[in-house]
Symmetry: C4
Subunit: 235 residues, 4 copies
């Protein structure tokens, strides 16, 4: 993929994130990785979405060195890079403070799987990280945010669980492209909203049966997936 193409994809994904109502002010960003060159394009920090253009995205390598662009990259860049380095099959990351995912993150609660809407996208509860420590904050806040996420995924496959809640912070979602990262952010927000309302109606809702979780997840994402067209659904 040429870097010009990467800029366009990442630009469009950032715009989509806003148009979908997942971002207020500048509270969010999407990046994309060109796997061949190991170059990441990301939103510049604190720039209004209305001033965003493919040309003012910032390009960095996976070690965080700025390769192209005059602006500072998003202050969350080290978190994104940590995820690209640890989750080797992803090529897009989105960060949001969307309303309902944010409520669960602030409440320090994972999002339980309560129905097929959730199961279609996330293979089980969406995990919550532990709280980042004072030492981690002081040493390298954004890098350590990434490490805390990766730590949480020690026994979770990031292909089957393309999102996480960072305690008292917000959400990160990822996928095989910047566009997929945005789609997963939207699925996360809708899933969170429905879980929030379900819990208010029925605080003691019975657990979602394992066989239905497996079925829904597999029919969309498994080797015998039959949801969608022949090309299959990408994560």
């Amino acid at each position: 993929m040429r870097l010009e193409e990467l800029r366009k994809l990442v630009y469009q994904a950032n715009i989509d994130l806003v148009d979908l109502g997942l971002v207020t002010l500048t509270w969010g960003n999407v990046s994309g990785l060109d796997k061949e060159s190991g170059i990441v394009a990301i939103k510049p920090s604190g720039v209004d979405y209305k001033d965003l253009a493919p040309e003012n995205l910032v390009l960095v390598d996976l070690a965080g060195n700025r390769v192209e662009g005059d602006l500072n990259p998003s202050s969350d860049t080290p978190t994104h890079l940590e995820l690209y380095r640890a989750f080797d099959r992803i090529a897009g990351v989105a960060h949001t403070h969307s309303d309902y995912a944010g409520m669960f993150a602030q409440a320090r609660l994972a999002i339980p799987c309560l129905g097929t809407t959730h199961a279609d996208h996330f293979n089980g509860e969406v995990p919550l990280t532990r709280m980042i420590t004072q030492e981690e904050v002081e040493a390298d806040y954004e890098g350590n945010t990434g490490k805390v996420i990766v730590e949480r995924f020690e026994r979770i496959d990031p292909q089957e669980m393309p999102a996480v809640l960072v305690a008292a912070h917000g959400a990160f979602a990822w996928g095989s492209s910047p566009e997929r990262a945005v789609i997963n952010s939207l699925a996360l927000e809708k899933t969170a909203k429905m879980a929030w309302g379900t819990l208010s109606l029925a605080p003691e809702v019975p657990p979602f049966p394992e066989y239905l979780l497996r079925k829904h997840y597999q029919r969309k994402h498994g080797p015998q997936a039959y949801y969608g067209q022949k090309t299959g659904e990408q994560k």
Copy 2:
């Protein structure tokens, strides 16, 4: 009805479902039946709504054989067909994971009738199916989802109750046309939202009086209906 006309009606109903905010991503679909020929038009599986066109809808017969179209029909097609076979006066079915109907489905609660808004559309509480079993999921998930709905309607008239919540899943609504199925999906979602908020204000709300349910339902749908114009209101 010519099949070209059926394609247009079903296409428009799918677009309306999205425009009304009842569908996120590809989480929903509408089908329509041409009663003369027994042909059903339905949304192709996993196709983005922006790429949808009357031409790429899939046509199947009531036994599920594909009659026209290169794409796979919605993975929910067997559920739709089960409903058309069992409920012989309907000609449109809509499936959604809309927010508030979804919350009740996930909470495993029927939607109680709490006011005239509900009574204008649904003759009593909107029923909840039982949970589908592991055996049913493994044998024929989507077909059995339809059978579980039909089982729930053993003593309910689908003309008087044009919607159902599938436990831990979402909603199906139906009617005399694809358009009516969409209208009933919207009435269901609004009714669910109002019930959700009512229960949060007054968990012990007194039951809605039977005489008012009967009055509201009958003035709109009964033989002496006087709501609307001479042509009457269709379900």
Copy 3:
């Protein structure tokens, strides 16, 4: 006022009610009274808002006789007429099933005055009617709905309280014009939403002080009102 002008005002008020998000499907209507001639223009029953035009509004006199128009007037017409006959200074009535006002009506709770937003529009809690009886429903449902409202206002000035919740039904609001009735419907819905959320945060919220209610209501509506411009604010 010429009746052509009345048709335009009532048409626009109906459209505004929809555009403000206060109406789903055909669940709402606005009427307007020409005080000189005693003629009321009202929405025809069950007609889609997209098909509404000043020409297809129905004109009736205060006794309910159709004066102009081929369509049936809204089935709620007898309720509107009851209000015009009892509240002699009003010239517009709006009926909605808007979400949050509807939740309070369904929960059978008046909307308590909890803040200045409420006090700016409603001089105290927005009252709830008693439940209509079976006899009243069977004899003359819509007319008796109006009578139940009027009964509730026996000791309330409809100028100071331009809205009511009908138990298990929805809201009626009124004012000096169809436009004012719509504005009061919107104020009611917003007030209801804020009260709903306030009660979820603080079920035991202390009462709003009488001196602040008086101040806010009077600065906008009293004889020494100083809110707005010289022409004053109409109710």
Copy 4:
């Protein structure tokens, strides 16, 4: 700054407040101060936003004398002026009755800091004023509303806390320009919504750690701020 320029900025900020969904009807207003001349431009009282224009804004001096304009200034003008006189680094004030901030104000609760979204904008809980007394209401309601806010900020730096909830009333936010006051109003509303939902999920949510509040606030607003571009983020 020329006063023509001030009119444009204040006009645009008022329009933005509406477009962001923070204002219903005429329930809100923004003012701006030209520090050189000590002139404040503010929305006229009770004027519909659709009729607003830079030309019909009202100009007053810091003592409240009308300098330009035929219309009455917003009835909240004395509150705005009190804030400009007491908080000497601000040049914009916005007043709203936005939904979720309004719910906290009505519930008489400060907005606790529960996550980084809040910490990015507000250095700790957003304070609630005491209830204004009957004497204060009768003597000079709007001026005393400003004094009650200023009293609440005796030990709070208005630069670090650019918003307040007035008990049983609504919100005021401010900043270095009318535009910043609007941005802070939006951040307040979103923060309030997330806090509201968080508390409904987890009434006993653990406190947000002080070290994370400090970090987030400082990386955006402190002397070593590294969020945004070189020009820094203004408050």
